[in-house]
C-alpha cells in the first residue's frame, strides 16, 4: 500500500501552439523568415510529487491550469518536455466517454470494443453484457446502432463498462459531468466500493463535494504549478476561499 505508484520529478510540459491560422505560405515564410509560426505554451512547470498505491487523489484548479495535461502524462499518453515521470502500472484512463466507441456499430459490439479499451477480453466481457445494458438502462437497445442513442445514454454505457473493469489504477478527467440523477446512484455505489478498496484513483472534477467525499488527498494546480498538496478537505477549502 505504501509503495509509490507515480513519481514525478521536476516535470514540465510545453506545447507549441500556432500563432495564427496555418497556411502553406505562412509555413514557408516561417521557414526562411525571422517570424516563427508557433509559440511555446508551458502547460506544466517543475512539478514534483509522489502518489502511493491505494491513494485517491483529486486534482483541482481553474480551467487551463494543467489538470488534463497532468492526467495525460500520468496515463502515458504524452511525454514530459522536461523532468521525468515514472508510473508503475498502466491506468484505465477515461477522458471523454465517447473515445473508444464506434457510432456505426451496434451497442453490443461497442461493449466489446470499449471493454477491450478498459482491459477486458471478450470472454470476460461476454457474461457482463446483460448487466452493463441493465446498468446503463438500455436493455432493449442492445442491437441498435450506437448513433441512435442519446449522448446521455452513451455516457451511461461507457461508465457502466468502466464500473465492471478490473483495473487497479483509474484516471478520470471530468468524466462525471452531466450524469443524470437516476444514474448518480450507480456512480455513488461504484465510488463507495472504490473508496473502500486498495485501488488507486486520480481524478479531476469541479464538483468539490464529490471530491471531498471520495478522495483523501488533493493537488491544487495553478498556472501549471502545484499551489498546494495535502488532505482533500483542506486543499479544497483553501481553493474555494481564494475563489
Amino acid at each position: 500500500m505504501n509503495e509509490p505508484l507515480i513519481q514525478a520529478s521536476h516535470v514540465a510540459k510545453r506545447y507549441r501552439v500556432l500563432k495564427r491560422q496555418r497556411s502553406t505560405l505562412r509555413a514557408l515564410k516561417a521557414l526562411w523568415g525571422p517570424e516563427k509560426l508557433t509559440m511555446e505554451v508551458w502547460a506544466l512547470r517543475d512539478l514534483s510529487f509522489t502518489i502511493k498505491r491505494g491513494e485517491k487523489v483529486a486534482v483541482i484548479g481553474r480551467n487551463g491550469s494543467g489538470k488534463t495535461t497532468l492526467l495525460r502524462l500520468i496515463s502515458g499518453i504524452i511525454d514530459p518536455s522536461r523532468g521525468s515521470i515514472e508510473v508503475a502500472a498502466e491506468p484505465l484512463a477515461l477522458f471523454k466517454f465517447w473515445i473508444g466507441q464506434n457510432a456505426d456499430l451496434p451497442v453490443i459490439d461497442n461493449i466489446y470494443l470499449f471493454g477491450a479499451v478498459c482491459g477486458m477480453k471478450r470472454r470476460q466481457t461476454e457474461p457482463l453484457v446483460a448487466k452493463i445494458l441493465d446498468s446503463a438502462d438500455i436493455k432493449k437497445l442492445g442491437f441498435a446502432p450506437l448513433h441512435d442513442l442519446s449522448l446521455g445514454q452513451r455516457q451511461r454505457l461507457a461508465l457502466s463498462i468502466v464500473f465492471q473493469a478490473p483495473a487497479d489504477f483509474l484516471v478520470f478527467d471530468e468524466t462525471f459531468v452531466h450524469v443524470d440523477q437516476a444514474f448518480i446512484r450507480e456512480c455513488n455505489a461504484f465510488f463507495v466500493r472504490l473508496a473502500e478498496s486498495t485501488r488507486t484513483m486520480v481524478i479531476t472534477s469541479h464538483d468539490h463535494d464529490f471530491l471531498k467525499k471520495y478522495c483523501q488527498r488533493a493537488l491544487w494546480l495553478d498556472k501549471g504549478q502545484i499551489r498546494l498538496d495535502g488532505p482533500a478537505a483542506e486543499v479544497i477549502a483553501a481553493y474555494e476561499a481564494e475563489k
Binding site: Y15, R16, V17, L18, R22, T24, A27, T38, R72, S75, G76, I77, I78, D79, E90, P91, L92, A93, F95, K96, I99, G100, N102, D104, L105, D109, Y112, L113, G115, A116, V117, G119, M120, K121, R122
Partner: protein
C-alpha cells in the same frame, strides 16, 4: 544526442506496451470494429468494392491488350495482379495519410497505442487486398500457372509489402499534420504509380535507362515482380527480387517509425 535519447526511450516504452497481451485484444477489437463498420463485412458490400477493380481490369485489357499483351500468357492475370497491388498501395496510403488528424481525439484522450490506430486503419484495405489476392490465386490455378508450394512465398512478400505501405503511410500522416497540401500532392502523385509501375507493360519492353529507373526507383516494382512470379511462374522467384522486397519494406518502415516516434507529439499539437 537528446533526440536519440527521446526516440530510444519512446521506442522502449512502446515495445513494452505493444507486446502486452491486452494490446492484442484492443487491436483485434479495433480491426473487427473497423471491418464490421465498413462495406466489406457483407457479401454484397464486398462485391461492390470489387466492381471498381473489375471495371479497371476490363478497361485496361481492351486498351492495352493488343499492344502490350502480345506474348504474355494470361495477360488478364498479369493486369489484375498489377492493378490490385498498385490500388492497395494508393488507397491504403491515402487512408493512412489522415490517420493522425482523424484520430487526434483518440490519440490524445485514451491509452490506445497510436500504432494500433494505424494498423486498424489499414486493416480494411488489407482485407480487400486479401480477397483480391485469393481471386488472383484462383485464376492462376485455372490457368495452370500456380504451384502450391509457392504459397509460402506470400509470407515474406506480403509482410514486407505491408511494411512498405505502413512506412510510407506513417511518413505521410506526419507530414499531413504540418502541411495540409500533402493530401492534394499525394492524390496526384500516387496516381502516377499506375503508369510508372509495370502494370500493363513489361519492364523488358522499356529502354535500358527506363528499365533501371522503374526497377530500382519505383518501390512497387520488386513486389509486383514477386507476386507475378507466384501467380504466373509457379513461384520461380529470383532471390535478388525477394531480398529487394524485404530490404525495401524493412528499411522504409524502420526509418518512418523512428521519425514517427520523434515527431508524433509535435504533429498532434499542430493537427
Amino acid at each position: 544526442m537528446a533526440t536519440k535519447k527521446v526516440v530510444s526511450a519512446r521506442f522502449a516504452s512502446r515495445c513494452k506496451r505493444l507486446t502486452r497481451p491486452l494490446n492484442r485484444t484492443i487491436l483485434l477489437e479495433l480491426v473487427r470494429a473497423n471491418i464490421k463498420a465498413s462495406d466489406y463485412h457483407s457479401f454484397l458490400g464486398g462485391l461492390w468494392s470489387l466492381i471498381g477493380t473489375t471495371v479497371m481490369l476490363v478497361s485496361f485489357y481492351y486498351v492495352f491488350s493488343k499492344h502490350f499483351g502480345r506474348g504474355i500468357a494470361g495477360y488478364p492475370l498479369y493486369l489484375l495482379s498489377g492493378i490490385i497491388l498498385v490500388n492497395f498501395f494508393i488507397t491504403a496510403t491515402s487512408y493512412l495519410l489522415k490517420v493522425l488528424s482523424f484520430n487526434r481525439d483518440i490519440a490524445l484522450n485514451s491509452t490506445i497505442p497510436r500504432e494500433n490506430l494505424v494498423l486498424a486503419t489499414i486493416s480494411i484495405n488489407a482485407w480487400k487486398f486479401a480477397i483480391e489476392l485469393a481471386i488472383c490465386t484462383m485464376i492462376s490455378v485455372i490457368y495452370g500457372f500456380y504451384a502450391w508450394r509457392s504459397a509460402l512465398l506470400f509470407i515474406p512478400i506480403l509482410l514486407s509489402f505491408l511494411a512498405l505501405v505502413l512506412g510510407v503511410g506513417l511518413a505521410l500522416s506526419l507530414s499531413f499534420c504540418f502541411a495540409r497540401d500533402v493530401e492534394h500532392v499525394w492524390a496526384i502523385f500516387s496516381r502516377l504509380f499506375l503508369f510508372v509501375t509495370p502494370v500493363f507493360y513489361t519492364v523488358e519492353s522499356m529502354s535500358p535507362t527506363m528499365r533501371l529507373l522503374i526497377s530500382y526507383l519505383n518501390p512497387l516494382t520488386p513486389y509486383l515482380k514477386a507476386l507475378r512470379a507466384i501467380f504466373m511462374k509457379g513461384g520461380m522467384l529470383e532471390v535478388s527480387v525477394l531480398l529487394h522486397c524485404v530490404f525495401m519494406g524493412t528499411a522504409t518502415l524502420g526509418a518512418s517509425y523512428l521519425i514517427f516516434l520523434r515527431w508524433e507529439g509535435e504533429a498532434l499539437d499542430r493537427t
